[in-house]
């Protein structure tokens, strides 16, 4: 967390989505999407179901490659980079349906999140060189700091699958932060949370941004997204229909027609 982040000029985008298209079979999930994320901001990605938000997420985190167009992270194309390598370069993500390692403890989950930042191998672990032990010690300290940060340090040794759902979300966010990301992708972090938990989540996301991490947020909860985002991008049926500050987007006719106007009952 408190590691010195490499200095990036704040006026060039951290991530650029450049006319990206992606189809599955005959379905055009995304067509010609372009926008960019400025460093140390929270960008909200919204849109009705089937708008292509999760697809875009999977493209950014390297699970699929775009059919055409390019995604540049730190001005370099991510096309040839595998998802586990992207983590090492600073892109971390959470999942819509929380995918923790359920049989492992909370602390162990966070430690796996820190995997890409450590390097001791099989031989090192077998022989236990001093630097391996030191690295492990450091990793545990970092993990505990993160658990403190999300408020779960008392449950470090609980089996993660046994935790209540809201806490599992927090563990997942802490696990993503453990890779020391510069860009954090949150896929519907408020889904399944109650109102109090959602409010706390909003604070947490702000705190994450204040530490210098850029956040891309896909969310159905409108009030949360509008409240915490610095910038909003609206997708509908695979196309970008609007972007701007929350206030500007809320006033946009196209958005109201496509999304807000249809009754806002889209939460599932």
């Amino acid at each position: 967390m408190n590691a010195p982040l490499k200095k990036i000029p704040t006026d060039t985008p951290l991530l650029e989505i450049d006319s990206v298209s992606k189809a599955f079979g005959g379905v055009q999930a995304l067509s010609d999407i372009s926008f960019s994320l400025m460093p140390k901001t929270i960008t909200g990605l919204i849109g009705p179901n089937g708008a292509g938000k999760t697809t875009l997420f999977n493209l950014i985190s390297g699970i699929f490659a775009p059919d055409s167009g390019d995604i540049r992270y730190n001005s370099r194309s991510t096309r040839k980079i595998k998802s586990f390598q992207l983590v090492k370069q600073g892109i971390a993500r959470t999942f819509q349906n929380v995918e923790l390692f359920e049989t492992m403890t909370v602390l162990e989950n966070i430690l796996v999140g820190h995997h890409a930042q450590t390097r001791s191998g099989m031989w090192g672990s077998m022989i236990r060189f001093p630097w391996v032990l030191a690295e492990e010690q450091r990793a545990r300290e970092i993990a505990m700091t993160l658990l403190d940060f999300v408020g779960l340090s008392d449950h470090a040794h609980a089996i993660s699958g046994d935790l209540p759902f809201g806490w599992q979300r927090l563990v997942e966010i802490a696990r993503a932060l453990a890779s020391r990301p510069r860009l954090l992708l949150l896929d519907e972090p408020a889904a399944g949370l109650n109102i109090v938990e959602t409010l706390q989540l909003g604070d947490l996301i702000r705190k994450i941004r204040d530490q210098g991490i850029t956040v891309l947020l896909v969310e159905h909860d409108m009030s949360l997204t509008m409240e915490i985002s610095d910038w909003i991008v609206v997708l509908d049926q695979g196309k970008k229909i609007s972007q701007g500050t929350p206030r500007a987007v809320q006033a946009d006719e196209a958005v109201i027609a496509a999304y807000l106007g249809t009754g806002k009952k889209d939460e599932s």
């Binding site: 998802s83 923790l100 492992m104 820190h114 672990s125």
Partner: protein, 321 residues
């Protein structure tokens, strides 16, 4: 801290383990039992090897006897045909097994579930057929005779007692090495792959490389077991490394309990002793063996170790209510 108490518990467990080995090694007079225990040690190595792959990383192998066989035939061929010292043949045989695991692992470990099972099965069968048919080198179906006994300077391992210590020494070292891997970042990542391969990749684990590494490690330990087996019995034949042998290894892991080094010990002990006990059933031996396998899997699918523990805890709960 829980971690410390866990460490202490592990230390105590290993100390007790060491003590049991030393005491039984020195005081057991009956050579038959000593040899039986030596076989248990070899099988424990096999179960441990497969447990690293199956129990921790969640990757099934139905052809692991191939690596056991490569260790055994490797040392047999090198010591008899090429007149190597066994101590030179050991690293060579292990290196061959590791190289084979690496090459085979690259395409095979891309598969999952039943398909992975089938891929490893096919590989195991091919190696077995190679042992059986390449008779100019391996002695073919009738087997390979004349494997020399082990000696280290003045110490001869021809005696049952010394061999017992050699095998169990290897078991102890392998246990500690594997336990350390399990407790390290590598072990955590392996278990993460077991729980969710996609999620593991998404948080930065190079799943493909790691699966390959543990496959190679597992092959190395199996080959060590093969080496120890060959120099214990001086005679090997393809039947020992057949499909049935691979299945027996899987059974040891599953019956003992996955993802536990002690489960490997339990499973190996049971499956080594079971045929000894079943001799009493003479021609019903196979029937009873098959029946036991099915019953354990139906009623205690998490293995005997965990299964009995679960039952114990459940009765405890009932009594307190």
């Amino acid at each position: 801290m829980i971690i410390n108490s866990q460490n202490t518990r592990n230390r105590i467990a290993y100390a007790v383990f060491l003590l049991v080995i030393v005491v039984s090694g020195y005081f057991l007079e009956n050579l038959y039992y000593l040899q039986l225990l030596t076989f248990i040690g070899i099988n424990t190595l096999l179960a441990l090897a497969l447990n690293m792959l199956m129990g921790y990383a969640g990757q099934i192998s139905l052809g692991h006897a191939a690596f056991y066989g490569i260790g055994a035939y490797g040392t047999a061929i090198l010591t008899v045909h090429c007149h190597f010292s066994p101590w030179l043949a050991l690293p060579a045989a292990i290196a061959v097994a590791m190289a084979v695991a690496y090459i085979v692992g690259i395409p095979t470990l891309k598969l999952s579930g039943y398909y992975l099972g089938m891929g490893t099965l096919g590989f195991g069968m091919i190696i077995h057929i190679l042992f059986r048919e390449w008779s100019s080198i391996t002695g073919g179906a009738s087997g390979f005779i004349g494997i020399p006994p082990l000696e280290l300077g003045p110490v001869s391992f021809a005696s049952g007692r010394n061999y017992f210590f050699l095998v169990w020494g290897c078991v102890l070292i392998s246990f500690i090495a594997c336990q350390r891997i399990i407790d390290s970042r590598i072990g955590r990542a392996l278990r993460a792959i077991h729980d969710g391969e996609n999620a593991a990749a998404a948080v930065g684990v190079n799943t493909r490389a790691l699966k390959l590494q543990v496959f190679v490690l597992s092959a190395a330990i199996s080959a060590l077991a093969g080496f120890l087996y060959a120099h214990l019995v001086f005679f090997i034949s393809p039947g020992t490394f057949s499909f049935i042998a691979s299945i027996r290894m899987v059974t040891m892991v599953v019956i003992g309990g996955m993802a536990s080094v002690w489960g490997a010990l339990l499973g190996a002990s049971l499956l080594t002793l079971l045929p000894e006990w079943l001799h009493a059933f003479s021609e019903f031996e196979m029937v009873v063996y098959g029946l036991i396998l099915m019953l354990v899997m139906i009623f205690l699918p998490r293995g005997l170790f965990r299964g009995l523990l679960d039952i114990y805890e459940r009765t405890l709960k009932k009594n307190t209510h």
